[in-house]
Amino acid sequence: MKYLHNIGTYFIMIKDMFRKPTKWSVMKTLILKDIDDLIINSLGIVAFISFFVGGVVAIQTSLNISNPLIPKYLVGFATRQSIILEFAPTFISIIMAGKVGSFITSSIGTMRVTEQIDALEVMGINAINYLVFPKFIALTLYPFIISIAMFLGIVGGLAACVYGGYGTMEDYIDGVQNDFIPFHMTYAFLKTMVFAFILATIPSFYGYFMKGGALEVGKASTTSFVWTSVVIILVNYLITSLLLG
């Protein structure tokens, strides 16, 4: 019953996010601040993880190919497919649920605890629009992060492959270019957009509707991470079944 209530409240929050919009001059500032907090500040960790995980995927693939009949370019091919189809959109989104999601929940939750949200409501401001909508707009730039993750993942694979002595650059690049299906990019970016919406709204929901004090802000951040991850995994399965299944 509690889950049903939460799901209902979540969808009402989504509807309220588009109601009674905040003045554009104020909203513009909020969006730019959220782009800085959520997108720009995430670039470093995403770049670091993508590069090294790309390298690990290339090494693992190379080490598990023992059959001489399997072409060498398979390392590049497998790395590209892993990175584009799953690692960049899904794995990075789970990491972002921890980094960005916790930030959103704790910042909105702290505003709830310190009555800043009450202050907005007393002034007649639609607090959900004021707080959640800029995050939603900022995260429409999320595919930009995922593009960087894809690029650096493949480059990381190349670096590990060449400098680790697991293959040649020519074989790797040949594999990256081999059998490329453009629809896979459409699929990856489509689910990236859906994940961006989930990343903006579920942590906001747990922050906005939290009750209690400072301890509960921490608990809400943890719960938010768990549910954001669960929903991303479930939606990933659903989208993959629908588009590739």
Binding site: K20, T22, K23, S25, V26, K33, T110, T114, E115, Q116, D118, A119, E121, V122, M123, G124, I125
Partner: protein, 255 residues
């Protein structure tokens, strides 16, 4: 003027407000007092529209708020200033930005006009040099004064304060009380203060509503509260040794 008629509010099975009827007059500092758990904060949040209520009416200058359209409610809220117990300053903004916030949201003033107005109100609350500070760099008393500045910057018709003196030393508390009183007189605002501070009651209590267990137990003024025979009020007022002594002195003077 704010009028409340037969207000009832419950949370689940807990009946918090049990038929409160009272009024808060324009140009006066109206105090809601009572022990912790008496329903003061719930009453204030009902007045502000932060809580829905089951029964009764609340009207602002004759307009019943439950009958107003969403747009009319929004317009009404733009005329309300609120000072929260913990000040509720936006911690990502400087003090000047906090005070400017209602102007940015509800007016079409130019930046220089808004800055002029912010200067005026920050001077009014005796914080002429605090513009660039962050709320975390300000003391409790300063934060309260910034909250008051933010509440009055857009010339509100109604000012609500939830325990404005909590956490302040007695001297700073008196400064805040006097500031609220002066602002109320100066701009002829309907001010409603939620408090359990007897010093505030005696400083600025032009009208006092005493709540007990969700009922309005008594109402009067700072002049009449010393003469009341209501036991619940006298128990509350004379709970401290200081006020017991004041009462004895008052009785001796009258004899």
């Amino acid at each position: 003027m704010i009028e409340v008629n037969d207000l009832h509010k419950s949370f689940g099975d807990a009946h918090i407000l049990k038929g409160i009827t009272t009024s808060f007059e324009k140009g006066k500092t109206n105090l809601i007092i009572g022990q912790s758990g008496s329903g003061k904060t719930v009453f204030l949040k009902c007045l502000l529209g932060l809580f829905d209520y089951e029964k009764g009416t609340i009207s602002y200058d004759g307009k019943i708020i439950s009958d107003l359209s969403p747009d009319a409610k929004r317009d009404l809220r733009a005329k309300i200033g609120m000072v929260f117990q913990g000040s509720a300053l936006f911690d990502s903004m400087t003090i000047a930005e906090n005070v400017m916030f209602p102007l940015r949201m509800f007016t079409k003033q130019s930046l220089s006009e808004m800055e002029d107005r912010v200067n005026v109100v920050l001077n009014r609350v005796n914080l002429p040099d605090a513009h660039k500070k962050m709320p975390s760099e300000a003391s409790g008393g300063m934060q309260k004064r910034v909250a008051i500045a933010r509440a009055i910057v857009n010339n509100p018709k109604y000012l609500f304060c939830d325990e404005p003196n909590s956490g302040l030393d007695p001297k700073t508390a008196i400064v805040i009380d006097n500031l609220i009183q002066e602002i109320t007189d100066e701009f002829s605002i309907t001010t409603v203060i939620n408090s359990h501070d007897m010093n505030s009651v005696m400083e600025i209590g032009e009208k006092i509503v005493f709540l007990k267990n969700g009922f309005k137990e008594w109402e009067g003024s700072k002049e009449t509260i010393f003469r009341t025979d209501n036991k619940a009020v006298t128990d509350f007022v004379y709970s401290s040794e200081l006020f017991k002594k004041v009462r004895r002195m008052y009785q001796e003077e009258n004899q």
